[in-house]
């Protein structure tokens, strides 16, 4: 839902500057030229926030604020005063009536955006109805680390993906990058000098544009103290060095909300193939389970009635995989879908050791599986 901002100022210039400041955000700006128009507009559009000037003709900002706060239907609307007058007397007067914040002209546009974003949930334009990116779509990852070797390692680690990795070595460069281009994810080395990682975390989180970007801390496993400080500051995810890229890829995919179903589910020629990866740990099985119902429905809706569960790449069978396959096969039977299993020698051998899978019949290739159903 678009955020509604009401700007009440007798200066057209200020109203244009306000509109310009919020151009990149998902908001709708309405304008009024004085307190009388402001009150009428507030009642009409019920804004999420009001930016209010003090010195105006007809009805000034202090009078409008007084009337607004005495109206039960309007009094909860937060107000930020935007004024050239900052005398102590004025500040005390309007603080008593109840304003959320106070901006003294002249002001920088980013100060205005920052103050508003502290009061209401300001989101970049287009974020209200996001188009979910897929795991194989290009995303931008910013790595902040003063060690070029780590940046190279991460770039190399994601070289099999279409993801763009940009490395910078300092807080200032990171902020500059974010101003020019909003990254999808930021990885910050927790060992940057002078607690720069924590400082950068706070700057990013307090900026309306970057506050929702997932932030990962990067640390040596044994650096317990720096990890504790990072967690205390608010880092939710900490990646350990040496980096497990499979784990990092999965965590980024989840944090950025990438649709990873394409890694496992493929459709074509009347079949849906569920391709299990080499390492089928609990996290992977859980991810596949999350997509299973939706992808099966998609297949049925697309007229596909045959499913192949392809375990040829699986390194080792475990109970999580067996449970996944049991559940999947039951879903197929419930929906009258035909299915087949493929597996390698290890998988076939290991399946015989479990009561639940000892009777499963595996095909040795996709072609054989297709021919069998």
């Amino acid at each position: 839902m678009r955020l509604k901002i009401l700007t009440v100022d007798d200066s057209k210039t200020v109203r244009i500057i306000v509109k310009k400041s919020f151009k990149g955000f998902d908001c709708e700006i309405t304008e009024a030229q004085n307190g009388v128009e402001g009150l009428a507009m507030a009642a009409k559009v019920n804004p999420d926030i009001i930016l209010l000037d003090i010195t105006m003709p007809v009805m000034d900002g202090v009078e409008m604020l007084t009337k607004l706060k005495s109206d039960p239907t309007l009094k909860s609307i937060p107000v930020i005063m935007l004024t050239a007058e900052a005398g102590r007397e004025n500040v005390m007067k309007i603080a008593k009536i109840g304003v959320r914040d106070y901006i003294v002209k002249p002001f920088k546009e980013d100060v205005l955006v920052d103050k508003v974003s502290r009061v209401v949930d300001l989101r970049p334009a287009g974020e209200a109805a996001p188009v979910q990116k897929k795991i194989d779509d290009p995303i931008d990852i910013l790595v902040v680390d003063d060690k070029p070797a780590i940046i190279s390692q991460i770039t190399e680690g994601f070289s099999h993906t279409p993801w763009n990795v940009k490395g910078v070595s300092s807080t200032g460069e990171a902020i500059d990058f974010c101003q020019k281009k909003l990254p999808d994810c930021i990885i910050i080395s927790l060992s940057l000098a002078e607690d720069a990682a924590i400082t950068l975390f706070r700057i990013i989180r307090s900026n309306a544009k970057t506050k929702y970007v997932p932030l990962f801390g990067l640390s040596v496993k044994t650096a317990v103290e720096e990890q504790a400080r990072a967690q205390q500051a608010g880092f939710s995810t900490i990646i350990h060095k040496p980096i497990d890229f499979e784990e990092l890829e999965a965590k980024i995919g989840k944090a950025v909300n990438l649709d990873a179903s394409g890694k496992y589910f493929q459709m074509g020629e009347g079949y849906m193939t569920v391709k299990l990866p080499k390492s089928c740990n609990a996290a992977v099985v859980n991810e596949i389970s999350t997509y299973l119902k939706v992808k099966t429905s998609e297949a049925v809706n697309a007229g596909i009635a045959k499913i192949i569960f392809d375990a040829q790449n699986v390194a080792s069978l475990n109970m999580d995989v067996i449970k996944l396959l049991l559940h999947s096969m039951k879903t197929c039977r419930d929906l009258s879908l035909r299915y087949a299993l493929t597996g390698n020698d290890v998988v076939i051998e290991e399946s015989k050791k479990f009561e639940e899978s000892k009777d499963w019949k595996f095909c040795d290739s996709l072609e054989t599986a297709k021919a069998s159903i």
Partner: protein
């Protein structure tokens, strides 16, 4: 009859410079330097005086008053090309978007700049213990402006240069009992 004024010439120049620096750097990404300071009194300019600017250049004058322990009025006389450049920068527009005939928008922008400059000046006075409130800005256009003497305790004219273009601040103040 002039009264003894509680703000020195140095303080007043600092107030004028600070208000210009603050507004120009924040809103216009520009700086301006003081080129000339003129002390005006009834005796030295009893017949009035020309503005220290090219009389033939069209100008726009913004004015805002303030009332309180100190009462006064500040005029900002700006060459029209500078006013146009300032408007474009403030509104993130090109001159062609505004148009030479769109006086209303340029007037409004210069009115707002004047409001900010006088606001900063007044806020600094407030920090010195002088509480006052501001009036709504008004705008004049013309050329060949002449300054008449006025019965005030203090009047100073500051000529500024901003990237080769001139503007003038005329400060008139008196202390209220």
């Amino acid at each position: 009859m002039q009264q003894t004024f509680p703000i020195s010439d140095e303080e007043l120049e600092a107030l004028a410079k600070n208000s210009i620096d603050s507004v120009f750097s924040t809103m216009l990404d520009r700086s301006a330097v003081v080129k000339e300071v003129i002390k005006v009194d009834e005796t030295s300019h009893s017949e009035g005086m020309q503005l220290p600017m090219d009389a033939n250049t069209p100008m726009i004058a913004g004015t805002v008053g303030f009332l309180g322990n100190l009462t006064g009025i500040i005029y900002i006389f700006m060459e029209l090309p500078l006013a146009m450049e300032a408007t474009c920068k403030l509104l993130d527009m090109e001159e062609s978007d505004i148009g030479a005939e769109d006086h209303e928008l340029v007037n409004d922008a210069i009115g707002e700049l004047t409001n900010m400059i006088v606001g900063t000046f007044k806020n600094d006075l407030s920090n010195k213990g002088y509480e006052c409130r501001m009036t709504i800005p008004s705008i004049l256009r013309g050329s060949n402006f002449s300054i008449e003497p006025a019965e005030v305790a203090l009047r100073r004219i500051f000529k500024f240069d901003c990237d080769g273009r001139s503007f003038v601040i005329d400060v008139l103040m008196k202390e209220e009992n």
